[in-house]
Amino acid sequence: MIIEMKNIRKSFGSNEVLKNVSITLKGGEICALLGENGAGKSTLMNILGGVHQTDSGTISIDGNSVKFATPAQSQEAGIAFIHQELNLINDLPIFENMFLGRELRTKRGRLDLERMLHETKEVFKKMNVLLDPKTYVSDLDASYKQIVEICRAMMMNASYIIMDEPTTSLTNHEINRVFSMMRALKSKGVGIIFISHKLHEVMTVCDRFTVLRDGNLVAEGNIREVTTNDLARYMVGYEVRTGSLLKEKKLGTEVLRVEGLSNYKDYRDINFSIRAGEVLGVTGLLGDGRSELFQSIFGVDKPASGKMYLNGKEITIKSTTHAIKEGIAYVPRNRKENGIIKDMDILENASIVTWPTYSKHGILRIQKHREEFAQQRKALRIKMGQETDSIHSLSGGNQQKVILSKWLMAKPKLLILDNPTQGVDVGAKEDIYNIILQLAEENIAIIVLSSEGQEITRVCDRALVMYHGAIQGEVTGETMTEHDIMRLATGGSLAQ
């Protein structure tokens, strides 16, 4: 069992996305497909999945040449494509989802629920999945949704599965669940293509790797023979550091102190303080309440009890507008939902926070915003066309930099970054880390919320680890390791 894609070329308009790429996929192995955003990974997989057609080049399965004009044809050939946005309907039970679009019917044309339920049970048994097929999909966590999708692929007798960033919204525990599922499939002879930005995951679960850059195949080989550093270098084309970026520095006065902050729903009894020039990490697993906590501090909603001191003075933040006036900035997680405003151009997205600051009698001073943004654009190295282009014309990393720039233009004293490198490629990630450290040197107090242990250990002076809405512990400086963070985040303690 082997799939060969040879000399694949594909252009969209004048944009050449794939320039003569050849890859091979064997059954019974997990192959990582790596590359920065825009490297051509998705396009290549969409060609294999029948979503797009090649301009030139051939695809063959076990030596027989094939052509996929539609996703259905690709499925028929045994290729299942599990997209990042899962294809499940929340308001239906699992077993009905398993047969979405090819429901079984009785002779009289009614849905044959019995048989669908039975067949789902069979597959679950074969795959060792302990789920009740009658559970509604809305009651499943993200990993089980992923697993249901995999089972659906198996039910259609897929011999190759493409998984597009399956772990982005999963917690570590859930990730392990999906990984063991993938290993089980591998032992049954199924070939898996695993698309991911998380290199340490690639190291744990994959056998081989293929790296694309700018539409070219730049490296491939066995995972055992490389390190994450090698992979990162292949992806961006230059050396990427993974060590700590911290330097010796002197901290300023206290900027924010929080005492006993609770809303009793998402977080409780939170105490911490941060000084000017300090980079404080806050980490934990998904659902630990850190986003809600810092949104309260930013004035999105009010905490039920507790006190906040800004520059030593007690304060109640009434609204986000108030928070900004007090010099607090918050770069939210989920850029698409919370960060960008899709109907506005780049300049407007970058200046929305400072509109009231520079305006005179409510009238915008666009020239002023242009000048300010031009500075940020240079400092943050934002790659873009015109200021008046749509925000969507930018890559994820550059969008994130625009969001960052709108806050830097407000000249905050306290900068809260919630998952600042979400959906951002390796190169832009480095840029953002450097920006964070640079800002700390300019005496801004910075709080980085992240679930990536490595991110915390690389840029933060110390970190608070949250567990179910409370601070479980704190890690500092030299002793700050991903291992310790994980122990605290899963409810353990550091004391031996």
């Binding site: 986000t320 919370n338 960060g339 109907d343 915008l364």
Partner: protein, 343 residues
């Protein structure tokens, strides 16, 4: 030949990219059509032009009131809201203006001894303030109650008209003749006042929408409320202000309406105004999903509908069918604009 080719290219590009291009082209075609239809009936240019001009002044004057309401509606829709209560607010504010200035025994201002120009000024200010209050009340109910604008304004639509009718039962105020000059002051023999108000308000609102913090925050709120809030925009305040602005504009339209004819039919005036205003905004490229809207577009939209009515009139199409054509225009316009959003 080459020029022609590059013109075609330019046209195709504009058609695809520029948001109001197709709407403007549609308007131009309709105006040309209308001019031709009118033109065939006259021999000398002078009298043809005179009649063309009169026709246009009539069209604009007849649509000024609803045109002003449509401008406010554009702002409301830009925040992803809707205001169904405009027709009822129109009679409520109109009735209030008439009570204030009634020349009979019940006239409020006359009773406390204020007449003439000062009375007119006071009445206009109070009525606009009343519209502002009604609009702000709607806005506050929507934001504090976290309820869909559709429901709140549907309720307000029923309440405002019903209360006005009950209150004005068997009472027929008469307005001072001088007050009617607000709409009927003639400039060089033409009744241009309503058109001037419309134009001035449109210009101001266009500027507000493009160049002020408020105008851009309206777009931000409509496009992505969550992002806007997290960028320090006071979302509730923006919404209340948008509905209050709507109330002010409806009050102005009400003053124009009562001063044009000196009376108002409280049962029927402004019925369907909300739909006409929404239609004008939508034809002009404003998205009901919020985040996208053009004041200029709404004027185009209003004119397209108005010119079409005029054309149907000239062609002798039966009045009952006119609504059908209006419906076709709305659907057609949105289908035309669809390409821009998907592109």
């Amino acid at each position: 030949m080459n020029n022609w080719k590059s013109f075609l290219q330019w046209f195709r590009h504009k058609w695809k990219e520029a948001p109001l291009f197709s709407t403007a082209i549609a308007l131009i075609i309709m105006v040309i059509l209308q001019t031709l239809v009118l033109g065939f009936n006259y021999d000398s240019f002078g009298s043809w032009f005179q009649s063309w001009l009169n026709n246009w002044i009539n069209i604009l004057r007849n649509n000024a009131g609803i045109g002003i309401i449509a401008l406010g509606m554009t702002f409301v829709i830009m925040t992803a809201g809707i205001d169904l209560s405009v027709g009822s607010t129109l009679v409520a504010t109109g009735a209030f203006a008439m009570i204030l200035l009634d020349t009979g025994s019940k006239g409020i201002l006359a009773q406390i001894g204020i007449t003439g120009i000062p009375a007119f000024i006071i009445a206009v200010v109070i009525v606009i303030g009343f519209g502002y209050l009604l609009g702000a009340l709607i806005g506050i109910t929507i934001t504090k109650g976290k309820t869909p604008p559709f429901i709140i304004t549907l309720g307000a639509m029923m309440i405002f008209r019903s209360v006005t009718q009950q209150f004005m039962q068997g009472y027929n105020p008469t307005l001072p003749m001088d007050f009617l000059q607000i709409s009927n002051f003639s400039i060089g023999g033409y009744l241009l006042m309503p058109i001037l108000y419309w134009a001035v308000i449109a210009y101001i609102l266009h500027y507000v929408s493009r160049r002020t913090v408020f105008g851009r925050q309206v777009i931000a709120v409509g496009s992505n409320e969550k992002s806007a809030k997290l960028s320090g925009v006071n979302v509730d305040k923006i919404k209340v202000r948008v509905y209050a602005l709507m109330g002010i504009l409806v009050a102005i339209a009400a003053i124009l309406q009562v001063t044009r004819i000196g009376s108002m039919d409280f049962a029927n005036a402004g019925r369907g105004a909300e739909m006409d205003a929404i239609a004008a905004a939508v034809v002009g490229g404003t998205s009901l999903m919020g985040g996208r809207g053009f004041i200029i577009g709404t004027i185009y939209g209003m004119l397209i509908i108005a010119v079409m009515n005029n054309l149907l009139n000239l062609f002798g199409v039966p009045p009952f069918l006119r609504e059908a054509f209006k419906g076709l225009i709305v659907i057609g316009a949105v289908l035309l604009q669809r390409k821009e959003r998907t592109a």
